[in-house]
Amino acid sequence: MIQAVDYIRVLPEIVLTLFGVAIMMVEGALPPRASRKPLGWLAFVGTLAALAATVYQAGYPGMAFFGMVRVDSFSIFFHFLIAFIAALVVLSSFEYLDAQQIRGGEYYGLILFGAVGMVLMSSAVELVLIFIALEISSISTYVLAGFRRRAPSSIESSIKYFLLGSFATAFFLYGVALIFGATGSTRIYMIAETIQGGKHSAMVFTAVALMFVGIGFKIAAAPFHVWTPDVYEGAPAPVVGLMSTAPKAAAFAVLLRIFFAAATPGWFWPVWISAALSMTLGNISALVQDNVKRLLAYSSIAHAGYLLVAFAAARDIGISAAMFYTAAYALMNVGAFAVVSHFASAGERYVTLEDYAGLGRRSPVLAATLTIFLLSLIGIPITGGFFAKFYVFSAALKSNLVWLVIIAVVNSAIAAYYYLRIIVLMYMRDAREPAPTVQNVSAPLGVALALTVAATIYLGVLPGRVLDYASRGAALLVR
């Protein structure tokens, strides 16, 4: 039976959908020349409402809709994170859309719809529902990637993302079909029972491999990462901030559920290899990039690799480390892309490294903000990135993955170089002539940046509470 409490357990999804639909309807009613800012604020209120709904929902843990959705600390963690990211992205989009002269309220609606899919991904415990949620989030982001309609690069980014994304989901779906065939169910907890009952047919292994391929595309882990730099380079910068973090977080949540809650076998070595490859390829390719968005794209591949290290650690500490890493990474990356989007100006003109030369002199606050995010990406203390790496490495060390940790440590040292290059350019080189103009930071973007900086530092100074919460979620998963 469906009870009232079932609806509470999907409350954030409902709230986001309602706001998204409202935005779409109002968009149609607005005269074409009218400002779309109010729609943006409506979207922001929607994300805040989703945050509130998440908090409210935390009091009603349990299964809903015939065991298809499960609300527990694990899903609450990701709900909160995704809604928070969506709020930040909405805030940092106002100014960007103005600068690019994009007048389309559906932009905000799509962000909310995307968030619906991602939120649902993290609480769904039924594979077909996960697939549908994945598609909801993907289809919105495909469109968002092409939102700079007049820029050929943006359209190109969109089509690449669309083709490779659908290609990957087909793999995921085939995996779902096979696991359904092998176990007779698509519910993660039923699958777990069957698998623990000792049914390890070749089909299960194939299914896990196929699902890993599908999700691997979404999280941009090597060797499924080739689309990432192109898509990130072409897509609008705030959208990249969104799609490099929130869908990834959701996809990691799915992967964690499949690997640990469903206790599927045979994923250890693929994950190990993928982690090592992602870190190495991502970091080495990032070394030679001139375009900041491409550089951050490769960096995000590398970070997916660090995250997979935590997966390979395969214990409750590994899961909580992965969750913490997702959160820390999401915050610093959203922040970094917010700065990039502000600095890029009309037509995304200023996105090469050269353009950042002398930024420390011309715009000290903006440069300092970006520096904090970059330091966090390197993993320097008092930033969230440090504890994220720390937890991952110590989880891996406790599981005796010495080689993987060595690869990761060497990679972090390599990575320090290209992040530092940006900092060095900003502070220690003079701007080229004529220097790119830097507009003043608008209030919403300023709030978004302040929030991300504060959150990054908070995770770097007092990681305890977030980690505790993540550990609670992790404990539920390994049970």
Binding site: P364, I380, Y391, S412, A416, Y417, Y427, P463, L467
Partner: protein, 497 residues
């Protein structure tokens, strides 16, 4: 009060820096504010020696609060006789750095002082942390402001120097982090004393402990720097602005020697004893090599930088002699070197402000236009040489006597270093200050201003005071050193025989 004092001393500069971020961009305001904050820090830090129980050997003014539950990280601060003086040294040099940068830093002034204050907090934090994690935290934190100070305010090749500095120390400290995490994984604690107990109880295998020892050693050896790893130092010093050099030589290098003493000796006494011979060899090579390179250096600032390599060789030698006198002397030498080399860099910086060059051949006969400056230079230079009744003497004497006790040949070789340093410093002094004024530009150089005088007097007074009344410092250092050496006592005996 005594529980909060270390927190106060550590974080007052940081609080000042945070406040300053919200200030309007007025250079004069930033300067005065930085001066007030650093002076406040110094006054607060004086509380430590005044209320320190000198006979006791353990940590004092301790504060221990759980900071993060998983991993089990504590906010654990405390000082013993060794670290207390290093804290005071840091707070003592900081206001002088502000004074000496008053005019020489003229653009992005606010940012400069913010960085300086953040750096001060990080440096103090390194010395007061008793939790390995916290220690690492401050250790890394000190890296960024220093690299930025070099890279933003330095001379022509500043970016190269800053990146080199950053990468050298970063790579070194990654190994230390690995060792720290490994120790945590085995002992379940980051606490210095807890890990020390675990080591003494033999909970950790000899082989594994050796790897940890080497991890720590590499990080500290880069920082000191010990001979083959020193190449970042001359570049960093040469390119850094004066205040950067003062803190670099005065405090940052001491982080390395302090770490060697506290962690390599304190946690891994057996491994330290086993590996002392080659470390001492490197130290002695450093002493002689640094002195010889300084001798042929045409550049005044690089000369002082190389003299640092030489003097810190003494400190390492003293630490690894495992004798009471040697380690006492090493600690004393750290303080003395901080004061006198800090002052030397200030003096060189003052000259640079006037002539915009560090080439020794550009100067000559400066005693005529700048008599007061020449006098200060003389005092500081003599203290660096190690003249009796000045601070350098006490440290070097103790280190040498410790080295002789350990093995005569160490003492003899190191003693030549003293002679070398007398040679190059006196010779430099003669070339720069005596003789006829050889350049027209030099004839009209103004003598030091009141502000510069205020910056120099404390160092000169400290140099004399530390030379005349060493016991004031040593009676706090000795018990702490004895505590560090106690597990080594029998082993050190073996080394003497």
């Amino acid at each position: 009060m005594s529980a909060a004092i270390l927190t106060l001393v550590t974080f007052v500069p940081l609080a000042g820096a945070l406040l300053m971020m919200f200030f309007p961009r007025r250079d004069e305001l930033a300067r005065w504010f930085a001066l007030v904050v650093t002076l406040l820090g110094f006054v607060l830090s004086l509380h430590l020696p005044l209320h320190f129980t000198r006979a006791a050997s353990g940590f004092q003014f301790e504060i221990n609060i759980q900071w993060i539950s998983s991993p089990n990280i504590h906010y654990h601060l405390g000082v013993d006789g060794i670290s207390m003086w290093l804290v005071v040294l840091t707070t003592f040099l900081s206001p002088l750095c502000v004074l000496i940068s008053w005019k020489s830093v003229h653009e992005r002034v606010k940012e400069f002082f913010i960085l300086l204050l953040i750096l001060e907090t990080a440096l103090i934090g390194v010395f007061v942390s008793l939790d390995l994690f916290l220690f690492y935290f401050f250790w890394e934190a000190s890296l960024i402001p220093m690299a930025l100070i070099i890279g933003m305010y330095g001379h022509e090749r500043r970016v190269y120097a800053a990146v080199k500095f950053f990468l050298f120390t970063m790579i070194g400290s990654v190994f230390m982090l690995a060792a720290i995490i490994w120790l945590y994984a085995r002992t379940g604690s980051f606490e210095y004393t807890a890990i020390q107990r675990a080591m003494q109880s033999g909970q950790i295998g000899w082989e594994a402990a050796l790897w940890c020892f080497l991890g720590f050693f590499l990080a500290f050896a880069v920082k000191v720097p010990i001979f083959p790893l020193h190449t970042w130092l001359p570049d960093a010093h040469f390119e850094a602005p004066t205040a950067g050099s003062v803190l670099l030589a005065g405090v940052l290098l001491k982080m390395g020697t302090y770490g060697l003493l506290r962690f390599n000796l304190g946690l891994f006494p057996e491994q330290a004893r086993e590996h002392a011979p080659w470390i001492i060899t490197l130290a002695i090579i450093g002493i002689i090599y640094g002195a010889l390179v300084a001798m042929v250096q045409p550049n005044l600032k690089k000369l002082v930088a190389y003299s640092s390599v030489s003097h810190l060789g003494f400190v390492v030698l003293g630490i690894f002699s495992f004798t009471q006198a040697g380690v006492d002397g090493a600690v004393y030498q750290m303080l003395a070197h901080g004061v006198s080399t800090g002052a030397l860099f200030m003096l060189v910086g003052i000259l640079y402000e006037r002539r915009h060059t560090f080439e020794i051949s550009e100067f000559g006969g400066l005693a005529t236009p700048m008599p007061v400056y020449a006098t200060f230079f003389m005092i500081i230079m003599l203290s660096s040489v190690g003249l009796p009744l000045l601070n350098g003497f006490v440290g070097e004497f103790l280190v040498l006597s410790g080295a002789f006790q350990a093995k005569a040949v160490y003492g003899i070789l190191a003693a030549t270093g003293v002679i070398w340093s007398a040679c190059y410093l006196l010779w430099t002094y003669q070339r720069v200050f005596f003789g006829k004024v050889n350049r027209d530009a030099n004839a009209v150089l103004p003598d030091i201003s009141a502000r510069e005088r205020i910056a120099l007097w404390p160092t000169a007074l400290a140099a004399v005071a530390m030379g005349v009344a060493p016991l004031l410092w040593l009676n706090a250092i000795e018990p702490a050193v004895r505590a560090v050496l106690s597990p080594l006592a029998q082993m050190a005996e073996g080394l003497v025989r």
